[in-house]
Symmetry: C2
Subunit: 139 residues, 2 copies
């Protein structure tokens, strides 16, 4: 784990710092996606809010994490698979929000479908968010 973290940072030519390591660790040990608020809470009092903002921004730019749109003004972040790189995200999977536990998951195996847009629209990327009840909550 500690090794994974070091690898990810090195691979993206980011220096190894306590906050980056901690935040990466949170993502690695967490099933679902995390909001800025989640991270602040889970990281404890140990990091400044500003540091968390900047770290998330850096990670997003580097393609280490990606954002997940929501209808509640609390963008979530989740780890990217290895095929994302600086400035270029290649996440084509569906996201799932559980209405019960409120967690957001990446359904890595569910690929976003093709959508046919009306004439005149240029498509660059599609985001699919499914809502319902997740596996754990359902039983």
């Amino acid at each position: 784990m500690k090794e994974d973290i070091t690898n990810i940072l090195k691979r993206n030519s980011l220096s190894l710092t306590a906050s980056r390591e901690k935040i990466l660790q949170l993502f690695l040990s967490n099933d679902g996606a995390l909001s800025h608020g989640d991270i602040e809470k889970k990281a404890g009092e140990r990091f400044d809010r500003v540091t968390v903002y900047r770290t998330l921004q850096t990670f997003t730019e580097k393609g280490i994490i990606h954002t997940i749109p929501t209808a509640d003004n609390a963008v979530r972040y989740a780890l990217c698979k290895d095929n994302c790189s600086e400035g270029h995200h290649h996440d084509h999977h569906v996201h799932f929000i559980c209405q019960q536990c409120k967690q957001t998951f990446c359904l890595d195996d569910v690929v976003t479908p093709d959508i046919k847009l009306p004439r005149g629209y240029a498509l660059s990327h599609i985001e699919v968010v499914a809502e319902g009840v997740c596996r754990q909550c359902k039983r």
Copy 2:
């Protein structure tokens, strides 16, 4: 127009007030979706921020408008078609965000596709947001 507004409010048993009329008018005369901030700006200094919040909440509950998730912490709202009713939205269309003009549009004719989820997930509703360049900006 004024008549449409009155109709919508009456139909939903909402009293006719200046702010509700103004906000509805903004939606009716606007192509794209509007964020809370947009509405505050467009409505001028005439309404309290709190009133705008409460009006948007009421309209959403009544099924007059629906929310559109975003990755930038600025939820957009757009008018629902007539088939939405109190507590029950039936919007199954795709939304489009233009990267140039930053506007959000409802593509009323583009229906959200069916998505097959892994075993164990109960689906209640799917949201599709497409990003790219819109018709106006493209030419």
